[in-house]
């Protein structure tokens, strides 16, 4: 099978959906020139009306996308770097997330917001955010955080067809990773986790770019005879709690890995859910591996150490095994 990158997968998903449905259009800054290649050739193919270059007005164009969605279009907003979502917080929270509920079901907001998480690249505090947990705390938004080319293509296509607002957090550390992706059309439903590696001893739930570190850690631990199961939720809202719980029931141990800041992270929510609903399957305390609650510093040696690494995951897995052995 052919291999494509994460960015190519985004390009294909958008292009296929725009070909399929004339109501789909895309808006954002510098789209026509397609800085990252996800809209390459779109202007020629779809015209400027559907490939809409915006001014630097994130709050304005997110709001305009919401208004367009409420009366029948299906916009994709490329907001570029996720840190820029804060400028559009008013529209994201007060309109996009709330309109369906607040207007008693009269409004649908079929809108996709694509946001690249641009971390671990010396972009410092204001350009390196992984802000999906903030939005998990806001009802009304669906949230995906795909970790591979195959996943992002299938999930993004589903998101574009979904009748609710979907935030697509794209992990820029994965942009140039390649994977076999079929030419034929496929969709991945929201709310369906993927078991990326099966194992018996410890469950590692990993989010977005951390999935790769988790798989690397599993590889290392396998050499010592420790069998790690890696679960990728893929979508954070809705969250496939059943798959996570089933895995923990099998292994009895949970490590949750999340590139976001630790406090109120996706990892925190997953840990809480397992503590509430899967407590009696646990034979050791849950461990979170996330980014400490400090801002992202510029200098690479300062920055690199902050995010989850396979070493930190290996250590966390060992910790859960040690603690369960100690109590046994």
């Amino acid at each position: 099978m052919r291999e494509i990158t994460y960015l190519q997968a985004i390009y294909e998903a958008q292009r296929e959906e725009m070909q399929r449905d004339a109501r789909v259009f895309i808006m954002g800054e510098d789209l026509e020139s397609s800085v990252y290649g996800t809209t390459r050739g779109f202007t020629e193919e779809f015209g400027r009306e559907r490939v809409r270059n915006t001014p630097l007005s994130e709050n304005g164009f997110v709001g305009a996308a919401a208004g367009a969605a409420m009366v029948g279009l299906r916009p994709i907003v490329d907001i570029n770097i996720a840190s820029f979502m804060y400028v559009a917080m008013d529209q994201l929270v007060s309109i996009v997330a709330k309109a369906t509920y607040m207007y008693g079901g009269q409004a649908r907001v079929p809108l996709v917001i694509r946001a690249a998480m641009f971390y671990n690249g010396a972009n410092a505090a204001q350009h390196s955010d992984r802000p999906y947990p903030m939005f998990m705390n806001m009802p009304g938004l669906k949230i995906i955080a795909p970790s591979s080319p195959y996943d992002i293509k299938g999930l993004l296509k589903t998101a574009i067809r979904d009748d609710d607002p979907v935030l697509c957090f794209e992990d820029a550390t994965l942009w140039f990773t390649k994977e076999a992706v079929p030419e034929e059309e496929y969709l991945i439903p929201l709310g369906q986790a993927a078991v990326k590696r099966e194992g018996r001893d410890v469950t590692v739930v990993a989010v977005a770019g951390a999935v790769r570190q988790a798989l690397d850690a599993a590889q290392v631990l396998a050499q010592e005879g420790i069998s790690v199961e890696v679960v990728d939720p893929r979508s954070l809202v809705p969250l496939d709690v059943a798959t996570i719980l089933a895995s923990v029931e099998k292994t009895g141990r949970l490590v949750v890995v999340d590139p976001a800041h630790q406090t109120c992270s996706a990892a925190s929510e997953i840990a809480a859910l397992v503590a509430e609903r899967g407590f009696w399957s646990l034979s050791a305390p849950i461990v979170r591996v996330a980014t400490p609650d400090v801002h992202v510093p510029f200098s690479p040696p300062l920055e690199r150490q902050l995010y989850p690494t396979s070493e930190r995951i290996v250590a966390a897995v060992r910790q859960t095994l040690r603690e369960s052995a100690a109590s046994a």
Partner: protein
């Protein structure tokens, strides 16, 4: 303008006035939860603008927009039921006074975060055009909203994309207690249109016909693809910022309030209809009685409607439900 049309204007002005008077009463009696921002005093600009668009045109309002769906022809029963938090309300009791939406008359939602409706209206207008219709969007907001970033971003978007949207600033002179004159750098809010190279027009908001005329012109431009307009209707709210909100500050003089009330559209428009021979006082009295009965019926409907089942709170967060809301 036909006599029937003018009479319909009068009818809608009265509907808004009596509807909001009833809302005030319901707040005072503790039947209306929360607070209510009334349109009393501003009815003429609302009706003049709403009657210049078609019922299938879109409309966006703000926290002070009880009257706007009424101006566009909405059924008052379901609006009043919403104000009382009943399941028969337009938003099934989930929106309340500041967030009415009635898609059946093109009211695609009112929003109480000041200024936030301005970009949404641009988007609805964009969709109207992209879907191949000649619909326009009429967007209401206050003087205070024009100091929000969302206002400026929205106007610029509408201008560069030549969107069919009519921005109607209801300059009632104050944002809560802050006079517009103190916080707006230009003399008239309509002057802000110049920054976006779109028409900016000041109109007497107490004259429904004048408002109708300037909005009609803007609507015509919009339908012809000539882009948005900013219209500033000078108007006044008679009551406090919100009924049910104790505001102790003295920020306007009794003389000022009296001067505006002396130009009350409910009174002056009636006089005009009589003077111009559109209707006899008796005919207008009949309209008054009929509207009073409609409002009474709306209140009775709202009162007798059930509250939503508590389960309703857990539905409708998404159009396509996801598990685990609880």
């Amino acid at each position: 303008m036909t006599p029937d049309f003018l009479l319909e204007m009068y009818r809608r002005i009265l509907r808004i006035r009596y509807f909001d008077e009833a809302a005030v009463e319901l707040v005072r009696q503790g039947e209306l939860p929360g607070v209510a921002h009334t349109t009393i005093g501003q009815e003429a600009e609302v009706v003049g603008a709403c009657m210049a668009v078609r019922v299938d045109d879109y409309m966006v309002g703000n926290h002070r927009s009880h009257g706007h769906p009424i101006g566009k022809g909405a059924d008052m029963k379901r609006l009043m039921a919403e104000l009382l938090g009943k399941v028969t309300g337009v938003n099934r009791g989930k929106g309340g006074s500041m967030h009415l939406a009635d898609f059946s008359v093109g009211s695609v939602g009112e929003t109480s975060i000041v200024g936030s409706g301005v970009p949404v209206a641009a988007g609805a207008a964009l969709a109207a055009r992209m879907l191949g219709t000649d619909r326009v969007c009429l967007c209401f907001f206050g003087d205070g909203a024009t100091n929000e970033g969302a206002f400026h971003e929205g106007l610029n978007l509408a201008a560069i994309w030549k969107l069919p949207v009519i921005y109607l600033c209801e300059n009632n002179q104050y944002a809560v207690t802050t006079p517009a004159a103190e916080v707006v750098a230009v003399r008239n809010i309509a002057d802000r249109a110049r920054a976006y190279d779109i028409p900016g027009v000041v109109v007497d908001g107490q004259d429904p016909v004048a408002v109708y005329e300037v909005v009609s012109e803007a609507v015509q431009r919009a339908r012809q693809g000539l882009g948005p307009s900013l219209i500033e209707a000078k108007t006044y709210r008679y009551l406090e910022h919100a009924e049910g909100l104790p505001i102790a500050a003295q920020y306007r003089t009794a003389e000022e309030v009296a001067a505006w009330k002396a130009r009350d559209p409910v009174v002056t428009f009636r006089q005009r209809l009589i003077q111009e021979g559109v209707a006899t006082p008796e005919a207008l009295d009949q309209v008054v009685a009929a509207v009073r009965a409609e409002v009474a019926e709306a209140v009775a409907y709202a009162r007798s409607s059930p509250y939503p089942d508590p389960e309703e709170a857990f539905t409708g967060v998404y159009s396509t439900p996801v598990g685990g809301v609880r």
